[in-house]
Symmetry: C2
Subunit: 623 residues, 2 copies
C-alpha cells in the first residue's frame, strides 16, 4: 500500500473511474428514491474510492470480524455514497441499492446498523467522529488489535462542539489508529460554511488539539492516496486529512452551487452521462491482518457488596462498589467517567480495574460516544456522571437508540434531595428523558442492596439502561440476597383493607414508608409499592393495587412531567379499565439551596406531604 | 485604567489585600454553610480582585442598566468568590454573605438571577462562556453599546465541546468586547486536568480559534492588571487570559493539593489567620460610560400571513412567515439559526430583518446559549432547528429554566411524518423534553393559521416556550382571524351522544378528523379535540369530554412517554375523579425510511389506527 501511485497511470485511472461510479450510483439511488443527498456524496466520492481500493482492510463477508477496519460516515447524509461503496465492494446488489429510502429497505435515508457493515447510526452531525474515537480506544486499549478507524466528516459539522471533544480526546490519547477525512466542500445546508475552503483554518485547529494534519485536493486521487499512506505511517498521533472538494463535483448543473443540498438531481440522465455513464467496477477490499487474537481480560468471581438491613448507605456508593464487583466477574465490562468518579463512585471500579476505566474529563458527549463505539466492538460500557449533566448528551443517547446500541448509563445526584448545591446540580428531568428513549430500561433503587443487584442486572440488558442514584445515605430495607427483576416492583406494606396505594421509587420510598405509618395512626391503611423498575413498570401489581385500594398517590423527586407518576398513569390507563383517582406528587417549583430534608418538604414529596395527599384522597377532598 | 500598576506599590498592595479578603470571605461563607467550593474560589481571587478594583464598569445600584459590563462565573461553583466580590462591591451585606446555601437565601449554592447582579444561572460547566458570547453579540450587534463581557472560566470546563463552539463563534465574529479569564488551577473535581499547568496548550487552542491570548501568573496582580488592559485595548478579537493559579492558594493545608474540591476547609480559623484575618475593604466599581443610548430597531405593523380554509401549507412555513411578520411589528425580536434556516423557514425572517438574524452554524448549544445571553439584555429570541437536534442543547434549556430566562424555541420536522429521511432526523422525544422543563409552554399547531397565531403568541410568553412544527403540508382548517389562547384547545367535532373522544395535536388532528368520519359511518359518534396547547393543557375541556364520552383515544407523532398522551392522562387524573379508559396511540417501534403516509400507518397513529382503537374501546374490547 505504501507504494506510490504518482506514476502509476493505470491505477490512478481506475481510482478515478471508481470515483465516477460512486457518483453515478449516488445519483441513481437518489433519483430512484426521489430524495437524498447526492451532491454531498459526490464531493467525497474520490476520497472513498481511494480508501476502498487501496487502504481499507475489511472482510466484507465477515462484518463482525474483530480484525476489520472501521469506516464511519460522520456526515451520515452522504448515505448514497456509503451504499454505492458497499455495492462496489460486493456487500449489496445494485438492486438493493435502488431500494434506497423505500419502506422495508436496509438502505435507509441515513445509515443504521440494520446494515451489518454499519457500526453505528449517523445523521445527527458531529457524532461519527466521537464514536470513532471510542472504536479507536477499543482497538488500542481493549481489543489491542491493529485495526484502523476511518471517519468521513463534513466541514459543516466541525461547528459542533462534540467534534472538538473528540479532537481533544483523541489528540490527548495519541490515537494513531484514527483518521478523520474531512470533506471540505464549503457548502452547508443553507449556504457557505464559516470557513469556506480555508483548509488551513481547520488544520490550525486540529494541530492545536494535537493532531497530525494533511491538506489535500480531495479530487486528486494520487494526493489522496499519499495522504492515507501518511496517516497509516503516523504513529502516536491521529491524522486529519483536510480535503478541499466541490459539492456536486462532476455535474456542471450543481457543482459548487448553492441550493442543491439534500435534493435529487433534476436531470439524472444527463448528469450520469456527464459522469461517463454507469460502470460496474467491483473492488476487492484488502483483507485485514488476523494473526493476533483480540485481547481479553481475566475473570473472577462475582461478590456483590452486602449491606445489613437497618444500616445506612448511599445508593451511589452501593452502585460504585457493585460495579467494581461486576467488573471482577465480567471481563467485558468497561467504565467511562465524566471527571466526577469521586461523586458517582465509579472510582471504586477505577481502582480495581484501571485498564478498563476511561477518564473522559468533563465531556459528556464524548463519554457517551466512546461508550457507543466500545459497545460496537462488543464491550459492555457503563457511563456515569451526575444525572443533571446527562442532559448534555441527550442527542447521543437518542442516536444510540437508533444505533440499537446496548449501553448502561448511570446518573447520580438525583433530584432535590442533593440539598444545598441547588438546581444546577439536580437531575429533575432524567426519568422523562430516559423513559422517552426508544427501547430503554429505567431503574431507580431506594437502598444499597437493591442498587447493587440492579447494577449487576444491567450488565446483560439489551438497549439503553439507566440507573438513577441518590447522593445521600438511605436506610437499607432489603436483605443482600434479594432479587429485583427488571419490570418488577416490591410491595412493602399491604393488607386486605388498604384504602390507598402509595407508589414511590428511590428516595421517596422511605418517605412513603413513614407516611404509611402516620396514616395508620390516623386510621388509614396504606399500601406502599417500591416501583424501582420505572420502565418497564410493573403494570400488573399497580393495576391490582388500584383495583383493591381505589386511590393512588405517586411521589417522585422529579418534575411532574414524564417521570414515575406518568409511568404509573400510563400503566393503569393501558389496562383498559377506568383509573381510580390519582394524586401525583412531584417537584413543582424551582428549588434553591436548602438541606435535603428541607428540599423534600418544600417540594411536597416528603412523608408529611404524602400523608396529607393520601388523607385528602381517601376522605374525598379532591385531588 | 491603562496606567500601569507595576511601580505603584500601594495600589498593588491594595489589590493583594482585596484578593486575600475575597479568599477569607469565601472560606467564611463556606464554613457557615458547611459546604461549597472555597478552594476553587481561592485560585481565582486575585483575578477577580483586580477586575473589581480597576476594570469592571458597573453601577451596582442599577444592575439592570444597559451600560453595565457583564461578569459571568462560567465556573459557577466558585460562587463563594462571586458573593465575596459582591460584598466587597457593596451589593450585599456581610450578614447576607453568611446565609450562603441556606434555605430562602439568594446566596445559593451556585449563582442564579435571584441575585439581580447575576445575568444567568451557572453551575453546569461549559455554559457561561457561550452565554457570554450571546451578551457580547447583543452589545455589538443589538444594543450597540461599549459594555464589556468578562467570563471567569475553569480549566476543567475547557473539555466541554460547548466551550469550543463559543471560542469558534466569538473568534469568527471578532468579538473584541469579550474576555475569557481562564483560571488554570490544574485540579479538577477528582484530580489533575488533562493539561495541568500547560497554559501554552490552552493558548494554542484559543489562538487557532481566532482569539488573542495572554498567559499570566494568576496571582501576580500587576501582571493581571496589564493583561486586562491589553484585553481592553484589543479590538476586533476576543481575548483569552490564561492564568496559572493554585487551587486553595494561600492556605498550606489545601494549596495545590488533591482531595479538597467542593469541601469547606477543615480548620477555617487557622486558614483565615494564615490569610491575614478578615478585612473589610470596600471597592467602588468604576461607573460605566452612559452617554450613548441603546440602539433600538424601528417597528411596523403586524400583518400575520393568512391562509384560506381548505388550502394546504406546512406549519413550518406558516411559522417562518409569521415570524418575519412578528419581527416587523416587534423590534425586540431576534432570531437564531443552527444552519437550517431553509428547513425551519427562519429564512423568511433572515430576509426581512437581517440585522436581527444570527447564523450560529451547526452548534445548537451555542445557538441556545446566545439566545439566553440576548434575553438577559432584554431581547426576545426565537431559536430554531430540527426538533431532533434540540436534544443537543437539553442542558442549555435546563439551565435556561434555572436562569428564569424567557426564550422561544422552535423545532421543525416533528415525528415520523417527515418520511424518508429516517429516525435520525425525527423529533420523537421533544414534547417529553420540553414538558419536563420547568415553567415551560409547549405548543403544537396543526394548520397554518394556527401556527401563525401561536408564533405571535409566544413573543410575550414568560419562561421557555416551545413550538413544534411539521415538515409536510397539512390542510388549513381554521380561518385566519381565529384565536388560539395558550392553555386552550379546540373541539372540532362534538355532539351530545359522543361515545369516544379523540385527542390529537399537530399532524394527528387531521388523522383524527378522518377517523371520526369513518367512525360515524360505522355508527360511532366521536368527539375530536385539537390539543394544540400541550402544556398547559386544557384540563377543563378534557375532563368534560371524559365525563361525557366515557372513552378517550390519544394520538401523537411521538414516543409513548412524556408526550400528549401523558399530558392528557395527567390532566384527567388531577381532576380527582376516576379516569375513564384511555387508549394512547404513539410511535412504539423504531421507524426507518418510508413515505409520510406509510410512516403514520406503520406507527399506528393514522386514521385507520385511531378508528380501530376507538372502535375497540367503545365496544369494550380492551385497551
Amino acid at each position: 500500500m505504501a507504494r506510490t501511485l504518482q506514476r502509476d497511470t493505470e491505477a490512478v485511472q481506475q481510482m478515478r473511474e471508481l470515483g465516477q461510479q460512486l457518483r453515478v450510483d449516488s445519483i441513481r439511488c437518489s433519483a430512484a428514491a426521489n430524495s437524498g443527498h447526492p451532491t454531498s456524496s459526490m464531493s467525497a466520492a474520490d476520497l472513498i474510492a481511494v480508501l476502498l481500493a487501496r487502504h481499507l482492510r475489511y472482510d466484507i463477508s465477515e462484518p463482525r470480524s474483530a480484525h476489520n477496519d472501521h469506516l464511519i460516515f460522520s456526515k451520515g447524509h452522504a448515505s448514497p455514497l456509503l451504499y454505492a461503496a458497499l455495492k462496489a465492494a460486493g456487500a449489496i446488489s445494485d438492486e438493493e441499492l435502488l431500494t434506497f429510502r423505500k419502506r422495508g429497505s436496509r438502505i435507509e435515508g441515513h445509515p443504521t446498523p440494520r446494515l451489518p457493515w454499519v457500526d453505528v447510526a449517523t445523521g445527527s452531525l458531529g457524532q461519527g467522529l466521537p464514536v470513532g474515537v471510542g472504536i479507536a480506544m477499543a482497538g488500542r486499549f481493549l481489543d489491542r488489535l491493529p485495526y484502523r478507524t476511518w471517519v468521513l466528516c463534513g466541514d459543516s459539522e466541525l461547528a459542533e462542539g462534540s467534534m472538538w471533544e473528540a479532537f481533544e480526546h483523541a489528540g490527548w490519547l495519541g490515537l494513531g489508529n484514527l483518521t478523520a477525512i474531512i470533506d471540505v466542500n464549503r457548502l452547508g445546508q443553507r449556504g457557505p460554511t464559516r470557513h469556506g475552503w480555508d483548509t488551513a483554518a481547520y488544520a490550525r485547529r486540529c494541530q492545536a488539539f494535537g493532531w497530525h494534519t494533511i491538506e489535500i485536493d480531495g479530487h486528486d486521487v494520487a494526493e489522496i492516496d499519499r495522504a492515507y499512506t501518511e496517516a497509516e505511517e503516523t504513529a502516536g498521533q491521529p491524522t486529519a486529512i483536510i480535503a478541499r472538494t466541490k459539492k456536486g463535483r462532476g455535474v456542471p448543473e450543481v457543482e459548487d452551487k448553492e441550493g442543491f443540498h439534500g435534493k435529487p438531481l433534476a436531470d439524472p440522465s444527463t448528469a450520469i452521462a456527464e459522469l461517463g455513464g454507469p460502470r460496474s467496477i467491483r473492488v476487492d477490499l484488502a483483507r485485514p491482518p488476523d494473526s493476533q487474537r483480540p485481547h481479553r481480560f481475566s475473570a473472577g468471581q462475582l461478590r456483590l457488596p452486602a449491606y445489613e438491613v437497618g444500616s445506612k448507605e448511599a445508593t451511589r456508593t452501593a452502585f460504585g462498589k457493585a460495579l467494581a464487583a461486576v467488573g471482577e466477574a465480567r471481563p467485558d465490562i468497561v467504565v467511562l467517567d465524566g471527571e466526577v468518579s469521586d461523586s458517582t463512585r465509579t472510582g471504586y471500579f477505577a481502582g480495581a480495574h484501571p485498564e478498563r476505566f476511561f477518564e473522559c474529563y468533563i465531556a459528556e458527549q464524548q463519554m457517551l460516544a466512546a461508550a457507543v463505539g466500545m459497545q460496537a466492538r462488543g464491550w459492555k460500557p457503563y457511563a456515569a456522571t451526575f444525572g443533571a449533566f446527562l442532559t448534555r448528551a441527550c442527542d447521543f443517547i437518542r442516536m444510540a437508540a437508533v444505533s440499537r446500541a446496548s449501553l448502561r448509563v448511570v446518573g447520580s445526584h438525583a433530584g432535590v434531595s442533593i440539598g444545598e448545591d441547588g438546581p444546577s446540580q439536580m437531575a429533575l428531568e432524567d426519568l422523562a428523558a430516559f423513559r422517552a428513549t426508544h427501547g430503554s430500561t429505567v431503574l431507580y433503587p431506594c437502598d444499597a442492596n437493591q442498587a447493587a443487584r440492579l447494577t449487576a442486572a444491567m450488565a446483560d440488558r439489551e438497549g439503553i439502561s439507566y440507573l438513577r442514584t441518590t447522593r445521600g445515605s438511605t436506610p437499607v430495607i432489603y436483605g443482600p440476597g434479594e432479587d429485583f427483576p427488571v419490570g418488577g416492583s416490591r410491595t412493602l406494606r399491604s393488607s386486605p383493607g388498604d384504602q390507598v396505594t402509595i407508589v414511590a421509587a428511590g428516595i421517596t420510598v422511605h418517605e412513603a414508608l413513614s407516611a404509611a405509618e402516620r396514616l395508620e395512626a390516623e386510621g388509614i391503611a396504606a399500601r406502599v409499592i417500591d416501583a424501582y423498575s420505572v420502565k418497564p413498570i410493573d403494570a400488573v401489581t399497580l393495576r391490582q393495587a388500584a383495583h383493591e385500594t381505589g386511590h393512588i398517590v405517586t411521589a417522585e423527586d422529579h418534575w411532574p412531567e414524564g417521570g414515575l407518576g406518568d409511568a404509573v398513569l400510563g400503566a393503569l390507563a393501558a389496562g383498559g379499565l377506568p383509573v381510580p383517582p390519582v394524586r401525583k406528587l412531584a417537584v413543582r417549583s424551582m428549588p434553591a439551596s436548602a438541606t435535603p430534608a428541607e428540599q423534600l418538604a418544600d417540594a411536597g414529596i416528603d412523608a408529611a406531604a404524602i400523608c396529607s395527599a393520601a388523607t385528602a384522597l381517601v376522605r374525598g377532598e379532591g385531588g
